[in-house]
């Protein structure tokens, strides 16, 4: 757990947090640019990008490499992740969310670095995965190194993580506002001025590095003159709903693929290679599925670039291959493939509208609305998505249209599947963020970590009078009855006894009283305690019900209050 060290002065915090935002922002931005450059260089060198492929005159060599490159890349990724990381899997935004929400340290630096390298290899070899997840992790990884400095600032870790993530997104999309909002919406999940200020600085620094120092071109320019018909907004909403359904299918596919991988007989080291082989084979027929597919994003905004059959097969192929690659252990994100599947789906929907004779304002707005609706629903970031459209296209009309689709998509996916794929992945690892960070934090606090108190213990065959005397002597209203091997049998209450009685304890004990287990969480304890009246609750070991000690109602409530207070303080601190 994050310990908030001794308070420091406001000017000190101001200076340190600003420097942190600026320094992290610059560093993360540079490394993000390096990451993107490496991937693009590998894509050229390994003949993944169409621009490189078309220059190869030997078609047989090209076909051979198309299958070989993703397979060998998968082998390398499998080796890297399985042999050199502690988690034996790629790290991603879910791990960052976990660290920020539960105030726990990020996974170790070496695993993080290896995972980032594995992502570069995955993307470079044309696996059907995204680059933004690894970039988010790369930002958070650098932020986590600040943990080693003793900054004496409350919540320094989560603020640093937010800074790193914001700078990564700001650089990658050339969209500083979206970077800022993403860090709050997806990672921190609250808005406090304390985190907001340094994150803004980091996001702006990332933007300056990408835009002013390196003069990166805008990521996605599109011509759009405005929505012509009012009824189209209803169509955008419908499109959002359709995207939501597709997003649910996409999420379920990713999860199903991971399950398939774990029951398959393929050794974990070889799983990415197996997925790579499938990608390569499919690419022989459909070369568009290789890599991030920026060309497809562009084509999807051009009317008539695809036939309906082409679009349908690409949507299905890209969705399934992405699920396969992620489930079988390639390192990479879900966002870019979602953008791609979304935009192709949008183009398909527009084609169908046209075929049905509906007058529309052109393909671009449908393609882009669908793109961000699907992608934002996958990662649970509606606000970020709206801002990304705005900052990328600088087109107000387009943003308003996309906004409608985004909101409907997120609403429905939230109801049907959950807040995002990350939350679903975390839930599978036993962290439920659907009830907020307080609840998730309390679910992580094990009762064994609280201070258990001693209690009066009696044996079932002792006489009630001796038990009574001991309870009076220790000034307790309750005694715990344990057997000869110290296993819990029941509870003896003072009010049930009279000191004259000669009967044995077992005739008077309550065996159905409330007990807790050492591995129960604070959250479970709070729920179990509803309606509880009594002095204290016995805590047992889960395996053989050994009696370990008692917890008073007060101890549990104090711990609960601490968690809630810390969360509220983090959310409301100014500086």
């Amino acid at each position: 757990m994050d310990t908030d060290s001794a308070p420091s002065s406001t000017p000190y915090r101001f200076v340190v947090l600003t420097m942190m935002g600026c320094g992290l922002g610059t560093l993360v931005s540079l490394s993000a640019l390096l990451f993107v450059e490496c991937v693009s260089w590998l894509n050229t060198w390994l003949l993944i990008s169409p621009r490189a492929r078309v220059q190869v005159l030997d078609r047989e060599l090209l076909a051979m490499l198309t299958v070989l490159v993703p397979t060998m890349g998968g082998l390398l990724v499998g080796f890297l992740l399985h042999k050199l990381t502690l988690e034996k899997r790629a790290l991603g935004p879910a791990d960052v969310i976990l660290a920020a929400q539960l105030r726990q340290p990020m996974p170790d630096v070496r695993s993080g670095v290896v995972s980032s390298v594995a992502s570069v290899v995955s993307l470079g070899c044309g696996a059907s995965v995204g680059q933004y997840g690894p970039l988010v992790y790369l930002g958070a990884l650098q932020a986590s190194m600040l943990d080693r400095l003793k900054l004496r600032i409350p919540n320094a870790r989560s603020i640093a993580i937010a800074c790193g993530v914001a700078a990564a997104i700001s650089t990658a999309f050339n969209a500083p506002i979206a970077g800022l909002v993403f860090a709050h919406e997806v990672i921190l999940r609250h808005y406090s001025l304390q985190a907001f200020a340094p994150t803004t600085v980091a996001s702006a620094s990332g933007f300056i590095v990408a835009n002013v120092l390196f003069d990166r071109p805008p990521l996605f320019l599109v011509r759009f003159e405005g929505v012509n018909y009012a009824y189209e907004f209803a169509l955008f909403a419908l499109l959002g709903i359709a995207c939501a359904l597709l997003a649910v299918v996409f999420m379920k596919s990713v999860i199903a693929s991971a399950r398939l991988a774990s029951v398959s007989r393929i050794h974990p080291v070889l799983r990415p290679a197996a997925a790579g082989l499938v990608v390569g084979m499919v690419a022989l027929k459909l070369p568009d599925v290789l890599g991030i597919g920026t060309e497809l994003l562009r084509f999807a905004t051009i009317e008539g670039a695809f036939g309906n059959l082409e679009l349908t097969s690409l949507v299905i192929a890209k969705l399934l291959l992405t699920a396969l690659c992620l489930g079988f252990g390639f390192a990479g994100g879900i966002f870019s493939p979602s953008l791609l599947v979304g935009i192709l789906f949008g183009a398909l929907c527009w084609n169908l509208l046209g075929a049905a004779g509906v007058e529309t304002s052109g393909i671009a707005v449908y393609a882009i609305s669908s793109m961000v609706a699907l992608a934002s629903a996958m990662i649970g970031a509606p606000l970020t998505a709206i801002l990304i459209v705005f900052e990328l296209t600088r087109n107000y009309e387009l943003t308003i249209a996309a906004m409608v689709s985004v909101v409907f998509a997120n609403l429905i996916v939230f109801r049907l599947a959950g807040r995002s794929l990350f939350d679903i992945q975390l839930a599978a690892r036993g962290v439920d963020l659907s009830g907020g960070r307080d609840r998730a934090q309390m679910q992580r606090v094990r009762l064994s970590s609280l201070d258990l108190s001693e209690a009066v213990t009696v044996r079932p065959d002792e006489s009630v009078s001796t038990a009574h005397a001991r309870m009076i002597g220790e000034r307790r209203a309750e005694a715990v009855v344990v057997d000869s091997r110290h296993r819990f049998v029941g509870l003896l209450r003072l009010q049930d006894l009279d000191n004259e009685s000669s009967c044995s304890v077992k005739e008077k004990l309550h065996s159905d009283s409330l007990v807790l287990f050492e591995d129960s969480s604070l959250w479970d304890a709070m729920n179990d305690m509803k309606g509880f009246i009594g002095e204290s609750i016995p805590v047992l070991s889960r395996r053989d019900h050994q009696f370990l000690g008692v917890l008073s109602e007060g101890a549990i409530i104090t711990s609960y209050m601490q968690t809630v207070h810390r969360a509220r303080r983090e959310e409301n601190d100014a500086l």
Binding site: S49, P50, R51, R53, V54, Q55, L57, P217, P218, L221, V222, R223, D288, T294, E295, R298, F299, T301, I302, G304, A305, F306
Partner: protein
């Protein structure tokens, strides 16, 4: 460095032997004719003959690699950069490097004393990537669309999309019989940003979109092969728009032809000097010519006569005014700031390696084997 030192000693030795039987030395240079060659004659060839005593003969060259089949081929060729790259890959050219040209200073100046100057030939003064493996770039030119002002008395075409807009701008177009530039313009008209044009043209789908776009022009095109034809067709009123090189259009315009250029969508490329491998020309005199032609004053002199941009930074200080019209020539270069709003720099490596594919696709379309459909 050891190589270049040895190389220059070798050059000195050969130059001495060449000097011994000094008769009428000459160089044959293949170049593009028309206004461009007139400018080269005045700025490069005549001055070089004067200071070196080497006679220069020019032969007509309009691009392509057919020229290498000639026996003997020209000693020096003024080539398009992508074609030089392709010729270099095919082993048709002699290697050239900055080091070899730098090292040639002593030997050439020993031989042709009038060439001596204080040009330090520093690599920093040259634009990035000027030196290829077998070529040295010497100027930037632009491929763009010009139109006949008298054909459009009302609204004028100002965007590259207007090339394909027969409703608003009806009339025939003169276009080069080549996929070069035309494919890029078709992509631009689809709204593809400059940075992605070559990415998209690398795909089957991109080529499909190109043919769909150029299909509208099918019966409205007069194809040209020699760039001089483009200007002539426009001047004669045979066409209302023509693709071509900015220098030639400028030349016609500066002589009073009612021609205007659409800078939107201009494609900037470079011309290079290259030396065919099978030419038996004296190495020293070729190097002497290249060193001479690459001097900042010479590059600027060309640009003063025809608006093709020099590729040495220092050359821009010498450009000045057009001798006949008195126009500030730096304003008319393809790389002038106000021409760059939507300018595409040609990817010459990509061009060199995809030429066969693009040619084939283009010819299939011209022959009607591929028909662009919506």
């Amino acid at each position: 460095m050891r190589f270049s030192a040895g190389f220059s000693i070798l050059l000195i030795l050969t130059s001495v032997s060449a000097h011994a039987d000094e008769s009428e030395q000459s160089l044959r240079i293949g170049t593009w004719g028309g206004a461009y060659e007139v400018a080269q004659q005045a700025a490069l060839f005549k001055p070089f003959e004067q200071v070196s005593g080497i006679r220069i003969q020019t032969t007509d060259y309009t691009g392509g690699l057919e020229v290498f089949k000639e026996r003997p081929p020209p000693d020096i060729l003024d080539m398009l950069e992508d074609e030089a790259e392709a010729a270099c890959q095919a082993g048709l050219l002699k290697p050239i490097s900055h080091a070899s040209l730098l090292a040639a200073k002593t030997s050439t100046e020993l031989q042709y004393q009038a060439l001596a100057n204080n040009d330090d030939f520093s690599l920093e003064d040259f634009h990035l990537g000027v030196f290829g493996r077998c070529s040295v770039a010497h100027l930037t030119y632009s491929t763009l669309i010009a139109y006949d002002e008298t054909a459009f008395t009302g609204e004028k075409p100002v965007r590259i999309d207007d090339l394909f807009d027969l409703q608003r701008f009806p009339g025939k177009r003169a276009l080069q019989r080549s996929p070069a530039a035309l494919f890029e313009w078709a992509m631009m008209a689809e709204g593809v940003p400059l940075g992605q044009i070559y990415d998209l043209l690398s795909t089957e789908r991109g080529l499909r979109l190109v043919t769909r776009r150029i299909e509208v022009l099918r019966n409205q095109v007069i194809w040209w092969d020699d760039p001089a034809e483009a200007v002539a067709l426009l001047r004669q009123g045979d066409v209302v728009m023509a693709s071509g090189y900015n220098g030639r259009f400028f030349d016609a315009w500066s002589r009073g032809a009612p021609i205007n250029m659409i800078w939107d969508g201009q494609i900037i490329d470079r011309s290079v000097w290259a030396m065919p491998k099978t030419s038996a020309a004296d190495k020293l005199s070729t190097l002497a010519f290249l060193r001479f032609a690459l001097q900042p004053e010479r590059l600027a002199h060309v640009a003063r006569l025809i608006p093709y941009g020099p590729l040495r930074y220092s050359a821009f200080r010498y450009i000045g005014l057009h001798p006949d019209t008195g126009m500030v020539m730096s304003d008319h270069l393809p790389t002038a700031g106000h021409h760059l709003a939507n300018a595409l720099y040609r990817d010459t490596r990509w061009y060199a390696r995809t030429s066969r594919l693009r040619e084939q696709y283009f010819n299939d379309w011209i022959n009607g084997t591929v028909v662009g459909t919506d």
